[in-house]
């Protein structure tokens, strides 16, 4: 997103989300702030358990029953979503404003209904202007064509099990589109797919974003896959964003040691015969209060202060921020690891 006068479509302010489990409290989202700009695609990247799904589920009122927002705001369209109490309020947001695509398409499809009927339901519910059986049907064909499913007349009458994994994910995308959302959250939509199919779905999402004026929030644990789709990247660790910037900022000028570590462990950067970089240890327990920089215990080059105080947010530029003491003027100058210094020169294959 190069343009400077960006309009915010969704704004998260100092959000805290907790879960209670057998009398203990897990602090899953720790004081998170994030602006999502209209028309952008932003990737949320982090290890398993870092809180990517919990955060985005909270935008749709889909937290598990034992989860709650303990403080903070989620501003959308002039409303604070954290104040919503009734299902009725959420129903106006879900699908029609914010839609979600999940990793396993089977969880969002009804195995007993034809896929055409499932898309038609979404059209009838969210697009009352489209009236009459024929009009709805034509609309469904159009969505099927849009997501790259050929022979829509025939496919309309088929059931989910008659589709391959990649095709099912296209159907799920068609259902999401039929809700006519402004924001599309994609939670690891390609993780279970072959690389070639993955690449095609990514391309499809980009095309649809342009055609339907969507804002995309793309969730993944793999920094490698987001270079292709993301305008901006937000790196999450232990329930907080440690670095946010444009894709160029984060790939070419990463500042947080955790971002360095995530980039370094990509097998695309591995040299045959040499060990791949690994991140030692495990993420901290979210049941305990985290002291200092949450990544410090796994960071071999951590500073003393990292163990004592949580780093504040440092702004590197108008588009780029990171929470690391390395950006404090008093900190020693540390270079990112050798292997990731020249990603700009890395060639694509094929």
């Amino acid at each position: 997103m190069e343009n400077m006068n960006q309009e915010t479509i969704l704004s998260v302010k100092d959000l805290n989300i907790k879960f209670t489990l057998r009398g203990r409290v897990l602090h899953a989202i720790r004081n998170v702030s994030l602006e999502v700009y209209k028309g952008e695609s932003i990737a949320i990247v982090g290890e398993s358990g870092s809180g990517k799904s919990v955060l985005t589920k909270s935008f749709m009122g889909l937290l598990d029953n034992n989860g709650f927002i303990s403080s903070g705001e989620i501003l959308y369209d002039g409303k604070d979503l954290t104040k919503f109490k009734k299902e009725r309020e959420w129903q106006k947001i879900r699908g029609g404003q914010i839609a979600m695509i999940m990793q396993d398409p089977m969880t969002s499809l009804n195995p007993l209904k034809t896929i055409g009927e499932q898309i038609a339901e979404a059209v009838r519910l969210h697009q009352p202007a489209v009236r009459g059986g024929d009009a709805v049907r034509e609309k469904v064909y159009a969505y099927l064509r849009d997501v790259g499913i050929r022979k829509p007349e025939k496919r309309y009458k088929q059931y989910p099990h008659e589709f391959s994994g990649g095709m099912r994910q296209r159907v799920v995308i068609a259902i999401a589109l039929a809700c006519n959302p402004r924001i599309l959250i994609c939670d690891e939509p390609t993780t279970a797919l072959d690389v070639t199919i993955q690449a095609q779905i990514m391309k499809l999402l980009k095309d649809l974003k342009a055609k339907y004026d969507l804002t995309i929030i793309f969730i993944t644990h793999d920094l490698g896959v987001v270079a292709n789709i993301a305008d901006r990247v937000a790196v999450m660790y232990a329930g907080d964003f440690v670095e946010i910037g444009t894709a160029e900022d984060v790939f070419y000028d990463p500042r947080h040691p955790y971002t360095w570590a995530l980039l370094s462990s990509l097998p695309q950067l591995g040299k045959k015969g040499e060990e791949l970089f690994t991140i030692k240890g495990t993420p901290p327990s979210l049941y305990k209060t985290i002291e200092g920089d949450a990544f410090a215990p796994r960071n071999p080059r951590a500073l003393k202060i990292d163990f004592l105080a949580a780093p504040p947010r440092f702004d590197i530029s108008e588009t780029h921020m990171a929470k690391t003491w390395l950006l404090d003027p008093r900190a020693p100058k540390l270079e990112p690891p050798e292997g990731i210094r020249n990603l700009r020169k890395l060639e694509v294959l094929g």
């Binding site: 072959d194 070639t196 270079a227 791949l276 060639e347 294959l349 094929g350």
Partner: protein, 318 residues
């Protein structure tokens, strides 16, 4: 490739068919390759391409419908002697994709890891068995006390280590790793790959590494066979394959590798493989060596028109 490399596994015109009559489906349609001792031989292809079936046919899990699989020169498919069967069970092991699904949830790690060993050495003392379990766990970086725990108490990466320990305890010469890291988080993938590489160094294990992702293959494999719909369409040493990919399917796989470089990724043109470009009905393909050690499945027209002339070859851009 030096001439005196020892062939550990020789797969000759392998066919595997599922079902029979009208419903018969030929998952592997005439596949041939050789695996040298100590190397990592990669098999890459999309889901349903038959790569797992090839691995399982070598493991004798799936019966073959034609062709031969030779291990150290002895045929191991079809009916074989009990002695050879025991040898194969011990010397060729498999690691599976989903560490969650492949472990028996109700058994303790101790039992899971030693199950194969007990089956093979019914008379082994319990003391010896425990000793071997401890050794295998140590080798994959797990603590001895993990032996008395259940699989659900472990993370995905730890479960995959348990799966590797279970293979290692047999002291295998060859391990078939079927998508061993696909289900794992990026940071844990690197740990498991490093572990596999270290074991190869210390024990000289030969790997057949099955995956859909060429980027991991490139890092890990010495040679790569590209499988499409039950056939190998291209085979070469890794860097040769990457820099001189000939078959359009290989090129599609290459172009799908996501690279951590946003500017070039955004401009990249995605190559999609369209099998209808071939005119194989009139002019069937042959398996041909078009550069030393680099094989491709192509017909004569394709060879003439530059199947081998690569890099600027753009006959299937979408």
């Amino acid at each position: 490739m030096s001439a005196e490399r020892e062939i550990l596994l020789d797969v000759k015109d392998l066919h595997v068919t599922f079902g029979s009559g009208k419903k018969a489906f030929e998952a592997v349609r005439g596949v041939s390759f050789q695996v040298y001792r100590g190397e990592t031989f990669g098999i890459v292809g999309e889901s349903g391409s038959g790569k797992t079936t090839i691995g399982r046919a070598i493991m004798r899990i799936h019966p073959t419908s034609a062709g031969e699989i030779l291990y150290k020169g002895n045929r191991i498919n079809g009916k074989i002697s009990r002695q050879l069967d025991r040898q194969v069970i011990q010397e060729i092991q498999m690691i599976f994709q989903d560490p969650m699904a492949s472990l028996n949830e109700r058994a303790k790690v101790d039992y899971i890891v030693s199950e194969g060993l007990i089956n093979l050495h019914k008379k082994m003392s319990d003391e010896e068995r425990r000793r071997r379990v401890q050794q295998a766990l140590a080798e994959v970086g797990l603590l001895p006390e993990f032996a008395s725990r259940f699989p659900h108490e472990f993370s995905g990466g730890q479960r995959q280590r348990i799966g590797i320990a279970r293979a290692l305890i047999m002291e295998p010469e060859c391990i078939i790793a079927d998508e061993p890291i696909s289900a794992l988080d990026v940071s844990i993938r690197a740990q498991v790959l490093n572990l596999l590489a270290a074991l190869q160094k210390s024990r000289g294990i030969t790997y057949i590494f099955i995956a859909h992702d060429l980027s991991v293959m490139r890092y890990f494999s010495d040679r790569i066979a590209v499988v499409y719909k039950g056939r190998i369409v291209e085979l070469a040493e890794t860097e040769e394959l990457i820099s001189h990919a000939a078959h359009p399917y290989t090129r599609a796989l290459l172009s799908a590798i996501p690279m951590p470089n946003p500017v070039s990724e955004r401009e990249k043109k995605l190559t999609v493989y369209d099998p209808s470009i071939h005119d194989y009905d009139r002019n069937p393909p042959r398996w041909q060596e078009f550069r030393p050690g680099h094989f491709v499945l192509a017909n004569d027209r394709e060879m003439e028109e530059g199947f081998g002339e690569v890099n600027d070859f753009d006959y299937l851009s979408s």
